[in-house]
């Protein structure tokens, strides 16, 4: 046990020292963590033998996503969003449903053995993009700011939007075969889950934002403990909503949005600790993903799975994005660029864990497809980020060439 802890702690230490340096290289965090897990895991050197049971992995993944949803939503600058709202608005309101639809059609053509709802699940699980994986693009000054801002806002919000869609499909998929009334019941449950989640997130966050200045004015807050307010708030939103039978992810997402709006000026300082917690949890999740999941699944990828993964990263996302951005005064290069940079990551992993827990008949294929897509995305987007950014910048500088 101490060996695993030692390896993980040493790795976290090392990464925390060079994080900024790595961001400038083609290797983003996720690819480093995953490779580390794979190399030290049982398939590689065998130093890291994490016996992760499903429950532990799902708890970890859930908490990670809860924290990330909260911080991402808080960081989505709603005021700036109004300025350049058009691009992300189109991406989220039209592009995202189209991506899910196209993913569904592709899945229908490729996978024979899966039920329709299971295919819809795959399409939804692979629709949200991961901001952390796209960091190299989003923080690169060479990329025009409206594109960066658009991608950033999109990836910050689309995982939250996909949660209710996923739950609806999941509820329908688990109740198929029964009468229509059960589907209605399932839908009612989903709406309840979303409603409770939103209510808990709004209520708790509102209370927290009101209470904090009240306590701070009276000098009740200490320097050490003040760091913990936001991380604890995020976990509270998640756990309380789950306990009431609501969706904790919705609670975190809505809570985070509200927090970002209400705590506008000081939020950066208070969010810092939550971001540190979220990033560390994400690192651990990725390492476990590399150790325990990637190694064991590579053998079982069928050709349909690989083809779907490739299409998911290219056609299924790029075509809707391209069409949606028509008339936005963007060049073809820019539209293609935005279409390509929709990396799949943490949200998809957590969705896979959630779906796996439901033990659907096609569960194996579903999770294999998701895993395969994530692996390809981590590698593909990681390696292409810097060269493509440079190419785009060069093209924009002399538009006659392009």
């Amino acid at each position: 046990m101490y060996e695993n802890l030692a390896i993980l702690a040493a790795f976290v230490l090392l990464y925390s020292l060079v994080s900024g340096g790595l961001e400038k290289t083609p290797f983003n965090g996720a690819v480093v963590f995953m490779a580390f897990g794979l190399i030290l895991g049982p398939l590689g050197l065998g130093f890291l033998t994490l016996e992760v049971d499903a429950e532990l992995l799902s708890t970890l993944a859930e908490l990670t996503l809860a924290m990330v949803l909260f911080t991402d939503a808080s960081n989505a600058n709603l005021r700036e969003l109004k300025h350049s709202f058009k691009i992300p608005q189109k991406l989220l309101l039209i592009g995202l449903p189209l991506t899910i639809l196209l993913g569904f059609v592709t899945g229908y053509l490729l996978f024979d053995g899966l039920a329709l709802l299971e295919i819809a699940l795959i399409a939804t699980m692979l629709a949200p993009t991961d901001a952390a994986l796209g960091k190299a693009v989003v923080t690169n000054e060479a990329v025009p700011s409206n594109i960066r801002e658009g991608l950033n806002v999109e990836s910050g919000l689309n995982d939250g939007i996909c949660v209710p869609i996923l739950f609806i499909f999941l509820a329908l998929a688990t109740s198929t075969g029964a009468e229509g009334s059960t589907s209605m019941l399932a839908l009612k449950l989903v709406i309840e889950a979303i409603g409770i989640g939103a209510a808990v997130g709004v209520g708790l966050t509102f209370l927290a934002v009101r209470l904090f200045p009240h306590c701070a004015e009276r000098g009740w807050v200490t320097e050490t403990w003040q760091q913990l307010t936001v991380p604890a708030l995020a976990v509270t939103c998640f756990a309380v909503a789950q306990w009431f039978g609501g969706s904790g992810f919705i609670a975190c997402f809505v809570g985070g949005m509200l927090y970002g709006k209400l705590a506008n000026q000081h939020k950066h300082k208070f969010l810092l600790a939550a971001e540190g917690t979220g990033d560390t949890l994400a690192l651990i999740t990725w390492v476990i993903f590399g150790t325990a999941v990637v190694g064991q699944s590579i053998d079982s990828f069928s050709w349909q799975v690989v083809v779907y993964a490739l299409l998911s990263l290219t056609l299924i996302r790029m075509l809707p994005v391209f069409l949606v951005l028509k008339g936005m005064n963007l060049s073809t290069d820019e539209k293609l660029f935005m279409g390509w940079f929709g990396p799949r990551g943490l949200a998809s992993i957590v969705f896979a864990v959630i779906v796996l827990n439901e033990h659907l008949p096609g569960g194996e294929t579903i999770s294999m497809t998701v895993v395969c897509t994530i692996i390809l995305s981590v590698i593909g987007h990681g390696l292409s980020a810097n060269p493509l950014v440079a190419a785009l910048a060069a093209r924009l500088r002399n538009p006659t060439g392009g």
Partner: protein, 400 residues
């Protein structure tokens, strides 16, 4: 599971808002956590299932102590230590051994079932004081500066000093039982301490060097900077443990070296890890309240109660008082320094270590520790503010 997570997170959230206020009242943080754990736990409301596995508690307590040893040691201000060397050095070098010896003798007399070495183990477990419990005193401006600094330095260092002594007694006791000989036990101990020392010094030296280098290159981001000290402390602990050394020594020595190297930058770097350490401590106390206190009540005997009372009074106060003789301190100050040695997290973790090492009367000793810690929580919590005010008034009157 979500209910428990929700309660814990909500509790941490609420406490984070009022931590500063609570520290100024009679109720210290730990007592709030223990009482909340007890009330929410199976004995009263039953919302919080206290049945955390032994492994779970051990991991939690291990990490908590490792982080706290590192942080406390890192926060030791060497410039203050040099100036204020007189009192803490006497308390640590003369007072601490005195406390251990007196504690062992009292235990040997009171508890017939304990062997002499077991009595010594018990004495050592209860010699370490907890800085967090004494916070109300250490941060109270009414208390003379010198006394506050001395208490702070003492409690920051004495848990680290108790670790090798505790391990020595455990090794001797186990060596006796297994008949493998004292020499064998001692060589194991030296090996354990040596590895811990080397790992702590080595990792911290390399870590801080690497940090400065990477910092200069601009590789360290604002978000990940918060993680460095936590990762370093846990790395010291777990690397030493996995090499069969003492992780506690590694964390303690690593912390000392870190504070020494980083000097003024320490506070900023350590801040985030203090947040993690405090949260872990909160959870440990909470679990202690929910899962341990309630179930232990029936096991307490009057001998234990007598020992707990003596441990908090004579066993600590007499050696500390004697060790300070000839320093020119007033009797009131010496008694104050003797009284404010609250027992807390370190003693609990030591009890868990002893339990896991398989010392024969470990369960019995753990009960004594639990009772003493609980008594200390109450007594030191209640007395902190009144006594601080009293000593402040006294010193002012005689001084002015």
């Amino acid at each position: 599971m979500y209910l428990e997570l929700g309660i814990l997170a909500l509790f941490i959230f609420c406490y984070s808002l009022v931590a500063g206020r609570v520290e100024r009242t009679a109720a210290s943080g730990p007592i709030v956590f223990v009482v909340s754990g007890f009330i929410l736990g199976p004995m009263v409301f039953g919302w919080f299932d206290g049945s955390v596995s032994r492994d779970g508690i051990k991991v939690l307590a291990d990490l908590t102590l490792a982080l706290i040893l590192f942080i406390d040691a890192a926060n030791v201000d060497f410039s203050v230590l040099k100036k204020q060397f007189r009192l803490p050095s006497r308390m640590l070098l003369v007072g601490l051994p005195g406390v251990i010896i007196l504690g062992a003798l009292t235990a040997a007399i009171l508890f017939n079932r304990l062997s002499l070495l077991e009595a010594a183990i018990l004495g050592t477990m209860l010699a370490a004081t907890d800085a967090a419990l004494g916070k109300a005193v250490v941060t109270n401006k009414a208390v003379p500066n010198q006394i506050r600094e001395s208490l702070n330095l003492e409690s920051g260092l004495n848990d680290g000093l108790c670790v090798p002594i505790l391990f020595l007694f455990i090794a001797l006791e186990l060596g006796n039982i297994e008949g493998s000989g004292t020499m064998h036990a001692l060589s194991l101990l030296v090996q354990e301490l040596g590895i811990g020392l080397v790992v702590g010094v080595g990792l911290t030296a390399v870590g801080t060097k690497a940090f400065k280098w990477c910092q200069a290159k601009g590789w360290v981001t604002e978000i990940w900077r918060q993680v460095i000290v936590v990762a370093l402390a846990i790395a010291c602990f777990s690397v030493a443990q996995s090499l069969h050394g003492s992780g506690y020594i590694a964390a303690f020595v690593g912390g000392l070296l870190f504070g020494y190297i980083s000097k003024d930058a320490t506070h900023k770097l350590v801040l985030a890890s203090e947040g993690v350490g405090e949260t872990l401590a909160l959870m440990t106390w909470f679990v202690f309240g929910a899962g341990v206190i309630g179930q232990s009540f029936q096991a307490f005997t009057w001998e234990m109660l007598v020992y707990a009372f003596l441990s908090l009074t004579v066993i600590r106060m007499l050696p500390i008082f004697l060790s300070l003789s000839g320093t020119g301190e007033k009797t009131a100050s010496k008694l104050f320094l003797g009284w404010f040695g609250p027992r807390g997290l370190a003693s609990i973790v030591f009890a868990i270590i002893v339990l896991n090492k398989g010392v024969p009367n470990a369960k019995f000793m753990a009960m004594v520790v639990v009772l003493t810690v609980f008594s200390s929580l109450v007594a030191h919590g209640i007395s902190a503010n009144p006594l601080s005010a009293a000593i402040g008034a006294r010193v002012k009157r005689s001084g002015g």
